[in-house]
Symmetry: C2
Subunit: 458 residues, 2 copies
């Protein structure tokens, strides 16, 4: 039994280091028995940690059944490295037997030439299944579904169904639900294994099936697929084509990965980093720089506006040079207040937590929070400025009043712009913290100079 | 059949508006039939949208079985409002029959007085189950598990097992797996319903059960529970006590919520907002302000350091006032570069994507990206400053060189500080974008003034 938590992590470490030692000393038999009690995902991790020259050797120690599972768990780059070395028989043993959805995901990443060669080596049935999946748009239900599921006619009895299931060639097609379809392959209902196990043997499927079926279409976005599974607490979601014929099933384990991937995309957008779904830590430095420089360049342009505004106030600043000391404080605090508002609103929009609240109500609420925070921080800033400038009340008051105005502005901008972006059909996460921060800079210095000129009478 | 996507959303809207109309006109019969084909989670949403006076009326239209499910989906505040009005019989019909994990979660939020009253009205068995769950620490496996599962002895045959399951009083205890335990209630293996359905009737459970069982302890953190379920692609994870006796099961649907909640916490931390797990949009304004002001206050303090540094350079700034115009550009760009690095590293640490990469390698990589980005942006900034200042090359060069240095500093700080925080046992997300941004400000102006003085010879 594999222990949990820390003990489990230690065991994983141990398997990794032992495997390398055994392979290096050529003890293949030892390596093979080491891997027998280990879970496929952990074997995959151990193989990933090996030097490339040993990866194929380790992989070939696995039984056929295990090889498929382990292969599905491997990183894309290790999958690619192995596949280049596979013999025709290994392609049939492993790639042909992978889940069609995992295979389609892997083919997406492979060079076209390799995909063509592999497709030609697959069995006709699997070749067709893969080609169909690859035909659906990226990030849609069609792309992440598996076309393997069990569909049954509604007049079958429970005992006939059990008989049918037991005679299936490929038991992996049974997930938690069985799907009842009519002659045009349209979905009529769902029977869970639990319903089946609990029902009397002579009941028909019509009597026990659930008719209120939640389903999605092949072109439904994967994020909506994830939300639907999450909302209805179901383990698998049927996918139908434009004529409402059942064509596949999305399972809950794929959905967990989608939710995590979407969260990462949101987090990246909030941090001003472009993301395109693949693992950041596997991409090279130039790609990393390219994904960041666009955002930084836009922000640099906005900053030059701030600079131009400050530069145009040379006369004021020459007269009261102490005004300069408070620019970073004002723009910085404004940026932070705006970042808080936009973070909360963007996350709320993306998790649909604020779907029942209108934009007006949210912005009003954030504006109120902005004023409240501005008053607290403005008071502190005024006191600090007064002491720093040894009693220059006029400048100290300019700082405090500006801070209240800037906090209000920042919270309104931070909460309203994500809504605006969404209503334009754009991703609200584009109105991210770095953007709000920089935009508030421009307006912040304008407000500050205006208030200072008014109070100082210059 | 409930249609998907947009059509589905329209239907949900329709149910909500119709329900309100029917209740307002006193047409309870109409309201009741309106709700019959609607999914429980959608009914819950419709009830949440009603004025408070109608919520209990709508709730009482539901059948007993449906009422429990709908109640579990309701927001905590609506649950609370309803529970205050419940008659003793309703407590027995609804609260007593809720899943123990959902009930424990709700009790967490209720005033202690209400919890005591409710506990006394529950049946003894449920009272005990709830008390046990409430005894486990927050955010642990013990708190989110359900104590309802089926455990069987290993010498049972498949047909005996099926017989046993069909005679169960409470069928809701059957999830996808059955658990095989020994006489001391220790977990020996797992049988999925699929294994059971596929096996011959006279096989014993020992022959078909999986012995390599992944499990967690009652005190395992819920985030690790989520990662384990995600890693092993399983639908339910057994939870054992300190003597390795099976005490409960965490199911995948609870885990999806945990993953989403943890992502929200990360996102909030990155945006400088304190989160404590409950829905932000249901909390009042003072709580909102309180959660943000601490962070803002810390950042304000850091900003006063920047201000003090600038103030101490009055002599320099009086001589070359045009230096001031570039402060926001330098600190802003530095902050953005640092935010990018910290975002990527923090997310990588939390999703365990960079577990195989050492801190040194990550920081080195980020430093290289920082220099590259600094060179690109620094060149642009130098050219712009040269034109803005009508040919003042010395200041323009100071700006460009400072930008390279600041970008390097920011990327190193942004990537190294999360690692440092983690090694101190703190949440790396505390080293968030707002903090990095503000910290880079302080060092940024110091670097800028030093470089400017050197180049200008002042």
């Amino acid at each position: 039994m594999i222990p949990n938590g820390t003990k489990h992590n230690e065991l994983r470490q141990l398997v990794r280091s032992q495997l390398e030692l055994l392979l290096d000393s050529g003890n293949l038999k030892g390596a093979k028995s080491l891997l027998i009690p280990v879970q496929p995902v952990d074997i995959a991790e151990a193989i990933e940690g090996l030097p490339e020259s040993n990866q194929l050797i380790a992989f070939r120690l696995l039984s056929k059944a295990e090889a498929i599972e382990v292969y599905e768990y491997l990183n894309t780059d290790v999958q690619q490295a192995l596949i280049q070395e596979f013999k025709r028989q290994e392609v049939l043993d492993v790639v042909d037997k992978m889940s069609p959805d995992d295979r389609a995901r892997m083919f997406d990443e492979l060079p076209a030439k390799v995909v063509r060669r592999l497709l030609s080596q697959l069995s006709p049935k699997e070749r067709q299944a893969t080609a169909i999946l690859l035909g659906y748009g990226e990030d849609t239900a069609g792309r992440i579904m598996t076309p393997e599921y069990i569909s049954l006619k509604e007049n079958l009895t429970v005992s006939q169904t059990l008989e049918r299931i037991r005679n299936l060639a490929n038991a992996s097609e049974i997930v938690y639900y069985l799907y009842v379809t009519n002659n045009s392959r349209q979905l009529k209902g769902i029977v869970s294994l639990r319903d089946l196990v609990l029902a009397a043997m002579d009941t028909t499927l019509t009597e026990i099936m659930t008719r209120d079926v939640v389903f999605v279409h092949t072109d439904t976005d994967q994020e909506e697929v994830a939300r639907t599974i999450q909302r209805y607490d179901i383990l698998a979601l049927p996918v139908v084509d434009s004529e409402e014929r059942l064509v596949g099933v999305v399972t809950v384990d794929d959905v967990i990965d989608v939710i995590e991937q979407e969260a990462t995309e949101d987090i990246y957008a909030l941090g001003g980093v472009q993301s395109d779904g693949d693992n950041y830590f596997q991409t090279n430095l130039l790609t990393v720089a390219r994904r960041r420089v666009v955002w930084l360049f836009i922000l640099l342009l906005t900053n030059t506006v701030t600079g131009t505004i400050i530069n145009s106030q040379e006369d004021l600043l020459k007269q009261v040079v102490s005004l300069v000391a408070f620019i970073p404080l004002l723009t910085g605090t404004g940026g932070n207040v705006g970042a808080q508002s936009s973070t909360v609103v963007i996350r709320g929009l993306n998790t649909e937590e604020i779907k029942n609240m209108g934009a007006g109500k949210v912005v009003f609420r954030e504006a109120a929070a902005g004023i409240l925070l501005g008053l607290i921080l403005g008071t502190m800033a005024t006191i600090w400025a007064y002491f720093l400038l040894k009693g220059n009340l006029a400048v100290a008051l300019s700082v405090g009043i500006s801070l209240v105005a800037i906090a209000l502005l920042a919270s309104v901008a931070g909460s309203a712009l994500p809504f605006l972006f969404r209503s334009l059909g754009l991703d609200p996460a584009l109105m991210s913290a770095p953007f709000i921060t920089t935009a508030v800079d421009v307006l912040g210095v304008l407000i500050y100079f205006y208030i200072a000129r008014t109070i100082l009478g210059l």
